[in-house]
């Protein structure tokens, strides 16, 4: 027990050291990464946060400039810190701390063993999992995570909240989990779609009671908890900003996509090209597409709600309106929990090399388009397509592997055989 704690301390210390070293030895790096479209989106950018903070500290509505689209509660938090322009160290420490908190939540998810053996399903490969230490290390030393931390987008808060929601759910604290989920949804809106699988996860992992309540009343109770905490968060926000106008500048921007700054997602280019009269219709189509997966996956993978959460995080990283590599790093943090199904995946090499290819060529094509002027928007869009292709390959392959794992419990005779669709 002692040694585990020491290993954990060493790991966290090393992760913090790497981040602080990058912050201090390359003073230009944080600002460089903050400006990258792959890291900062209009709804998470640290630069825009600074703008909102400036307006907020000068008693002007932070949403007046039309630049700031993030949640109002971030403002008092950041105005408590010394200004990041004069004392950047405090901001750095905050972001490092958030990463470490996320990692510790991830460790507690891994330690629970929910990934290999849930209440309704136990994988025959359950002994082949990675230790929580390895999973946390994979998260903390993932270049995407580090780059996100240095670039300081506020999506780090969302990541932390989601991981804590899952960790609390796995440990049976359903109301804490629901509060963490509401906080994530409050910050970024899309995590509200994680509610059905998370509620099921809470239901499966809740502490045994003498007279267990039915699933419906449990889920209803949780929904009320989420609604209540969301309402109180929103109400606090309206008190802070003095009006409800923040709703349209934060969630309205996510829903209606007025800012078409390029990012690694698929929406911006599509809506640049879209006919004006069909814009609203296709906004609806894209949002429905994003949310349509939730119900289907939750029903199909009822026995493994944690995997539904993992898959949905992967899907969101591809299809949400303003994705960044921060979302990918969250998906890649959850994926190692399913180490035991990796041997069943068929395209790991293809998917990982596609992602790697896009990672390297993305910034190059962006440079060609924006700075060198020798390329155009199609260059960057093509590479974001490749990136999304790699991620969807990874997501669907993981789904395939988990379903195959489930099948082998049902039909042990098919173990190791090729399968095909009929």
């Amino acid at each position: 027990m002692m040694s585990i704690d020491r290993r954990k301390a060493t790991l966290f210390g090393a992760a913090a050291a790497v981040r602080l070293l990058l912050f201090t030895s390359f003073p230009g790096l944080p600002d460089l990464l903050t400006a990258r479209v792959e890291i900062s989106t209009p709804v998470t950018s640290f630069k825009r946060l600074q703008e909102g903070l400036f307006l907020y500290n000068h008693n002007v509505s932070p949403y007046d400039g039309g630049v700031y689209h993030q949640a109002p509660l971030l403002l008092p938090l950041f105005s408590l810190l010394p200004s990041s322009a004069t004392y950047p160290a405090f901001t750095y420490l905050l972001y490092v701390l958030l990463d470490l908190l996320s990692a510790s939540a991830l460790m507690s998810i891994a330690e629970s063993g929910e990934a290999v053996s849930s209440k309704l399903f136990t994988s025959p490969r359950k002994d082949k999992r990675w230790s929580s230490f390895a999973i946390a290390a994979a998260f903390l030393f993932n270049p995407f995570t580090i780059a996100t931390c240095i670039g300081r987008p506020t999506s780090v808060f969302t990541t932390c909240a989601i991981l804590h929601a899952i960790a609390k759910a796995v440990n049976g604290n359903s109301f804490t989990a629901m509060f963490a989920l509401s906080f994530a949804a409050y910050l970024s809106m899309y995590p509200i779609l994680l509610f059905p699988p998370l509620a099921l996860l809470c239901y499966d992992r809740r502490k045994p009671l003498k007279n267990p309540e039915s699933m419906y009343s449990f889920v209803t109770g949780n929904a009320i908890a989420v609604g209540g905490s969301l309402y109180s968060l929103l109400h606090m926000s309206s008190l802070i900003t003095g009006s409800w106008e923040f709703l349209s500048s934060t969630y309205g921007v996510q829903l209606l996509l007025p800012d078409l700054t390029p990012n690694v997602g698929l929406w911006w280019y599509f809506f640049i090209e879209m006919f004006d009269s069909f814009r609203n219709f296709f906004l609806g189509v894209f949002w429905i597409h994003l949310s349509a997966y939730v119900a289907g996956l939750t029903i199909r993978l009822r026995r493994q709600p944690l995997f539904v959460l993992t898959l949905l995080l992967g899907i969101f990283a591809i299809f949400k309106p303003y994705p960044s590599i921060s979302d990918t790093s969250l998906f890649l943090a959850m994926l190692p929990l399913y180490r035991h199904v990796f041997p069943l995946m068929r395209y790991t090499f293809l998917a990982s090399s596609t992602v790697l290819y896009a990672t390297l060529l993305g910034p190059a094509f962006y440079y060609l388009w924006i700075y060198a002027g020798s390329g155009n928007a199609n260059f960057f869009y093509a590479i974001t397509l490749v990136w999304s292709l790699g991620l969807s390959l990874l997501t669907s392959d993981a789904l395939f592997a988990v379903l195959r794992d489930e099948l082998e419990v049902e039909r042990p005779d098919l173990k190791g055989k090729e399968i095909r669709q009929i």
């Binding site: 009269s277 189509v285 429905i288 349509a292 395939f400 379903l403 098919l414 095909r420 669709q421």
Partner: protein
């Protein structure tokens, strides 16, 4: 990843059905299949689960997707008063009538004589006039009329402007003399011309009628021309205009600027060398231009700027300018002449310092709807140039060529109101026809508002035609009509016929929709098979 990739998982067959896997399954798997024993029957649980999954996708599509589709692609068509609009366009809603009130001051005549003269003159006028829209109505001036309880001029509204005052003065010969700075016509008559009360016509009456007719012939022709070029019903139009009159009126239309409440005048001095670098334009404008512009105040306002450009080369070279060169004289590429300040249309007046000759004489010319040019080598005296510019300005603003200044201005008001009224009515008609012809065009609320504003002001303009207010209302109506007709969001839809919508929907919805629909079919087939099997 299409949404159905998770939906049709079919463990009953002993196979996975993952769309992404389909193409990549090695061929030997297919050959191995027949050797395998028949897969065990699917458990009811997994069937139910699969149906739930399919239903969950369809529920989202039907409950959220369809309303969104319906709401976001419905074309908003505000209702327009189409009948009224067509009435205006066809001239049914308004009969443009210009009653011109002409007052006769005949202090030297007896009351009954004056009354009689009035009657006979009116009669003579009515006989001469064949154009009902343009109607001259005589009345005795109040000094006379006060003594007659019921004159012919009943119902004359007091605040209505008088078009002309005729003063009958005794003289030795009969002659007409139009005063230059007031709308007053002095007519001298000899005593023997005073009609006796018995005669049904009088020479003085005829003389007055002929003079008046001559004076208003141009205005009448202008209005007749406007009506004949609009879509008003033919019976309203007068008899066809003489070809040469029609031609000169067509020229007048092309020459004059579009009416605006404000014009911007730019006076420019261009010189090919470094001299002269200054001109006494301010004093010249003050002296010769300002009075004219002030008299225009009720029709249009003017803003003025001036400029001097050195080393300016004209668009054509040579010492003799041919007629066809004149249009190219303005060096539009290099001369800074197009700063339309504040959105008001600009009228340019240019003095070019040089000694070029224009073929066929003259040193100035007018460029239709643009301005005027004068070539002049000496600019120490700007008076002649200013007089030419004043003339050109009158021409460009569309004023008639004959008559005294007040009469010309009053004619201009009437002609402009008629033109704007007809134009706005025509636009209403076009908009109504467009609305009927293109059922898929969207009509935003702003267009409907514009139409109602137009019709309201058209109505007011029609009631007060000929006066200041009529012009103002006609102008507002015309502006609102143009704005409604050229509404941007409406025009965009015209290029988007229904066939193109397929091209918009298919590429994205096709790949998503086909698996969804196919799954439903497959499930329905499986369900039927199960039912038949259980029976």
């Amino acid at each position: 990843m299409p949404p159905s990739s998770q939906a049709p998982i079919a463990p009953e067959t002993g196979t996975f059905n993952d769309q992404d896997a389909r193409e990549d399954v090695p061929a030997n798997a297919v050959s191995a299949a027949p050797k395998k024993k028949e897969p065990p029957p699917e458990s009811p649980d997994s069937i139910r689960q699969r149906i739930y999954v399919v239903l969950s996708f369809w529920a989202i599509i039907i409950i959220i997707g369809l309303p969104i589709w319906w709401k976001t692609t419905a074309i908003y068509r505000a209702s327009l008063p189409l009948d009224q609009m067509m009435d205006w366009a066809d001239g049914r809603a308004c009969r443009p009538v210009f009653p011109l009130r002409i007052s006769i001051e005949a202090d030297t005549l007896q009351d009954h004589e004056a009354q009689h003269l009035l009657r006979t003159t009116q009669h003579a006028l009515d006989d001469l006039n064949d154009f009902s829209a343009h109607h001259l109505r005589l009345e005795l001036s109040p000094s006379n009329a006060s003594t007659t309880a019921t004159g012919l001029s009943t119902g004359g509204v007091e605040n209505e402007e008088l078009a002309l005052v005729i003063r009958l003065l005794p003289g030795t010969t009969s002659k007409a003399d139009l005063q230059s700075y007031a709308p007053v016509l002095d007519i001298y008559y000899t005593p023997n011309q005073v009609p006796s009360s018995s005669s049904s016509s009088s020479s003085l009456g005829n003389y007055i009628a002929n003079t008046l007719r001559g004076m208003f012939a141009e205005e009448q022709a202008m209005i007749a021309y406007l009506l004949s070029t609009s879509s008003a019903p033919p019976e309203r139009s007068p008899k066809a205009l003489a070809p040469e009159v029609a031609e000169s009126l067509a020229k007048w239309t092309t020459r004059s600027m579009k009416y605006s409440r404000t014009y911007h005048l730019t006076f420019s001095l261009f010189t090919p060398t470094a001299t002269p670098s200054s001109w006494d334009i301010e004093a010249a404008l003050e002296e010769h231009m300002k009075p004219l512009l002030e008299s225009f105040a009720s029709i249009s306002n003017f803003t003025i700027d001036t400029q001097v450009q050195l080393y300016a080369t004209p668009g054509v070279s040579g010492n003799i300018l041919k007629k066809e060169d004149l249009s190219g004289f303005i060096n539009a590429a290099e001369w800074p002449l197009s700063p339309s300040i504040g959105g008001a249309p600009t009228i340019n007046f240019i003095i070019y310092v040089g000694d070029m000759e224009v073929e066929g004489g003259g040193k100035s010319w007018l460029i239709p709807q643009w301005g005027g040019v004068i070539i002049q080598s000496d600019i120490s005296d700007l008076r002649p140039a200013m007089l030419i510019f004043s003339n050109q300005l009158m021409s460009l603003l569309g004023a008639p060529e004959s008559g005294s200044l007040p009469l010309r201005l009053m004619t201009l008001v009437r002609v402009r109101s008629a033109g704007l009224l007809l134009k706005a009515s025509g636009t209403m008609g076009s908009l109504a026809r467009l609305t009927l012809a293109l059922p898929s065009i969207s009509i935003p609320r702003s267009v409907a508002d514009g139409v109602y504003t137009t019709i309201e002001h058209l109505r007011k303009a029609c009631d007060g035609l000929g006066g200041q207010e009529g012009l103002e209302n006609a102008r507002i109506a015309e502006e609102a009509a143009e704005k409604a007709f050229f509404e941007k969001s409406m025009v965009g839809q015209v290029y988007f016929p229904d066939e193109h919508k397929l091209a918009v929907y298919m590429p994205l919805l096709g790949p998503v929709g086909v698996p969804l629909v196919m799954t439903v079919f497959k499930e329905a087939r499986a369900w039927r098979k199960r039912r038949r099997g259980s029976r």
